[in-house]
């Protein structure tokens, strides 16, 4: 629906753009040649260059880190979905013995500080010989991704009218079938939202990745950025380029998949 633009609308947009300026400044920095970086800054660089992106693509570990991040985030999301969807359905609909305890565990684990569980996890992964692997990160990420997903999906599932399931039971369907054929299609948008939030959380995760990885074999994007090599001086331009690359998936999600993202965020908070 086309709406007429009023002064208020423009003003709000200008203010919000101002709020996002730090990000735009970094974009600008990523295209600014080195010699202009430490001089008096202008809004747009006099001689924009792709040199920083080139340096990042060719000489840094960012490309490999991007691959690692994708892999780890995707696997985390998939694992959380596979484990979490049935669990969410059970929490929403089924009489589990000790359900209150289950709920307490799920909710409490979202509040566990990562810094507290990182040392036992470190010992555990060390014993299993899993350091510097994707598996380590996926397992560690599950500790916060799974409860988040269960909570979100349970909320979405509760929104579906019970009558639909009742109808399926009358037709002789079992719970598993109901989950697969009735619930899943209806909760698909909710699943998409929850999956997006989980992917985003796993992509941005830093503490576990920093502790459990040691080489490009499993280093994810946040860690690669934090450890960006500056031999003598800090390469602000290269870091800016690496930052922009590191933030591409989140930015794409925010712009292109906004609807689902917002739905997930709002649902998580308002449906306590």
């Amino acid at each position: 629906m086309r709406r007429r633009w009023r002064a208020w609308d423009v003003a709000v947009l200008v203010l919000l753009a101002a709020w996002a300026t730090p990000y735009f400044w970094q974009v600008r920095t990523s295209f600014t040649p080195d010699r202009e970086l430490l001089a008096a800054p202008r809004a747009v660089p006099a001689a924009p260059t792709l040199a920083h992106y080139q340096a990042v693509a060719e000489k840094s570990v960012m490309p490999r880190a991007l691959g690692n991040s994708f892999g780890v985030a995707t696997l985390t999301t998939l694992l959380a979905l596979v484990l979490g969807l049935p669990a969410a359905y059970a929490v929403a609909r089924l009489p589990i013995p000790g359900k209150r305890v289950v709920l307490l565990v799920v909710v409490a684990s979202t509040a566990f500080p990562q810094i507290s569980t990182v040392s036992p996890l470190y010992l555990l992964l060390r014993a299993l010989g899993l350091r510097d692997t994707w598996t380590a990160l996926v397992l560690a990420n599950t500790s916060f991704a799974l409860p988040l997903l269960i909570w979100l999906l349970a909320g979405f599932i509760r929104e579906i009218p019970i009558a639909l399931e009742e109808a399926a039971f009358l037709d002789g369907a079992g719970r598993a079938t109901v989950l697969r054929l009735v619930i899943l299609p209806l909760v698909a948008p909710g699943v998409a939202s929850a999956a997006l939030l989980t992917f985003l959380a796993a992509w941005n995760e830093f503490l576990f990745a920093y502790t459990f990885t040691a080489s490009e074999a499993s280093r994810t994007v946040p860690v690669a950025l934090a450890l960006f090599p500056g031999v003598f001086e800090i390469p602000w331009g290269d870091i800016a380029a690496a930052s922009i690359l590191a933030s591409l998936p989140p930015v794409i999600i925010v712009i292109a998949l906004q609807r689902w993202l917002v739905r997930g965020l709002v649902a998580g908070a308002l449906k306590d």
């Binding site: 990885t213 080489s215 450890l227 090599p229 031999v231 003598f232």
Partner: protein, 423 residues
């Protein structure tokens, strides 16, 4: 005549033995090392030469990240109960006791006698040994030195200062005389990292105290240690050093001095190569001196630094790996470091009198004298623990967040607690 012929024959045979390539079983060694800075990297050439002498053995070189902390984290994660992804490693000498204690290094004592360590600087050799066993061989040498603007000191007819108090006076005089507002007095590394500990330790030693004394006591003379810290703080307060030294590391402090904007600089030997570069503004005007002592304290001594070569205990090719280590630390391996363009200094003492080496690095004799008097940082498996604990305390005292007494007191209590029960 017969004995001469015998001798000659023996030499030929022995010479042939030394040169004859050993037929080892095919093996690939992985050599993990930090990236070598500077225009020339001697490692590839050395590795090829080693391969030539040991047919069947290939050496693959894998560089580490640049910062010391990352290298340490990499080693800790990968050596702790993991598979041998690399055979030979280059490590900071402060880690040798730690890695040895953790059981990650191959005990080289069956191959390397203490006599083989004799050609190296005493401080470097001491850092290779832990609990009476040899764990690594020294590869390159670093020693803390005082750089000064020889032209400025000569202009005011000053000899290089013997104490820090003298240094401050000289810097004041020169700055007053030059009337250049951009000329700083003395630059040093005060950022919160390992380099800060090195600087503070040098002041401790100049005051006659130490972080860890011979009886393994921590900060046994807190008053002297606090006084040394206070002195460093007054360097900033009095303006002898700019306030930004508390964020300064090696490069951040080398550049202003190299641009002619400071009278004194505390740094490492590598900087000299850069000061003598053809386009350097201070070319030919920089002098090297021993670090000053403190009035009423002891003579100054620079801290040692450098890398050592070691073998992963879990290597599958122990013989070949040890050979590589001995080759790189041996006369030829270290000679390669002395080539022009390499910003590293060897640990073998005789190379410091070698004419070719001196031609490439004219200041080697000077560094030799200073390296002989250098002191190592505490040689203990817990050095990293010590260092990371005192870093914030020293930094707090320098920035003024704590008094030196508070900083030393807290450092001592905390270190005593952390070391309790494990010493």
């Amino acid at each position: 005549m017969r004995s001469a012929a015998l001798l000659l024959a023996a030499l030929v045979v022995l010479g042939g033995c030394a040169e004859r390539p050993r037929t080892a079983e095919p093996a690939t060694l992985v050599f993990k090392h930090a990236k070598i800075l500077g225009p020339l990297d001697p490692i590839p050439g050395l590795l090829r030469e080693f391969e030539r002498r040991h047919p069947g053995v290939t050496v693959r070189s894998e560089p580490l990240t640049w910062t010391s902390d990352e290298q340490h984290q990499f080693y800790v994660i990968n050596l702790d109960g993991a598979t041998p992804a690399f055979d030979v490693l280059l490590l900071d000498l402060i880690w040798v006791p730690e890695f040895a204690q953790a059981g990650w290094l191959l005990d080289l004592s069956p191959w390397v006698t203490q006599r083989e360590l004799a050609p190296h600087f005493p401080a470097a050799a001491a850092a290779s040994v832990w609990n009476g066993r040899v764990w690594g061989l020294p590869w390159n040498m670093n020693v803390g030195v005082l750089y000064y603007r020889a032209d400025l000191l000569a202009k005011y007819r000053l000899a290089p200062p013997r104490t820090w108090e003298e240094l401050v006076e000289q810097a004041e005089r020169i700055r007053r005389g030059e009337r250049d507002p951009r000329l700083e007095g003395v630059l040093w590394q005060g950022k919160q990292y390992e380099g800060l500990v090195v600087n503070v330790l040098e002041h401790f030693w100049a005051s006659g105290t130490a972080l860890l004394d011979e009886r393994d006591r921590v900060l046994a003379e807190p008053a002297r240690a606090a006084a040394a810290l206070r002195f460093m703080r007054t360097l900033i307060d009095s303006g002898a050093s700019p306030s930004w030294v508390t964020a300064g590391d090696e490069e951040l402090t080398r550049r202003p001095f190299g641009d002619g904007r400071a009278v004194f600089l505390r740094s490492w030997p590598y900087a000299m190569d850069l000061f003598e570069a053809p386009d350097s503004p201070v070319r030919g005007r920089v002098g090297i001196a021993s670090l000053p002592g403190h009035a009423g304290g002891a003579a100054g001594a620079g801290a040692t630094g450098g890398f050592h070569l070691a073998v992963n205990r879990r290597t599958r090719h122990a013989e070949a790996a040890v050979e590589l280590v001995r080759f790189l630390a041996g006369p030829e391996g270290q000679r390669a470091i002395t080539a022009a363009g390499v910003a590293l200094y060897p640990t073998r003492v005789d190379l410091y009198r070698d004419p070719l080496a001196i031609k490439a690095h004219p200041h080697m004799p000077r560094f030799h004298d200073l390296a002989l008097r250098a002191r190592p940082r505490p040689i203990t498996p817990y050095y990293l623990m010590l260092s990371t604990t005192v870093q914030p305390e020293f930094s707090a005292a320098l920035v003024g967040v704590k008094t030196p007494e508070q900083a030393i007191d807290y450092a001592r209590r905390r270190l005593d607690y952390m070391l309790s029960g494990i010493r």
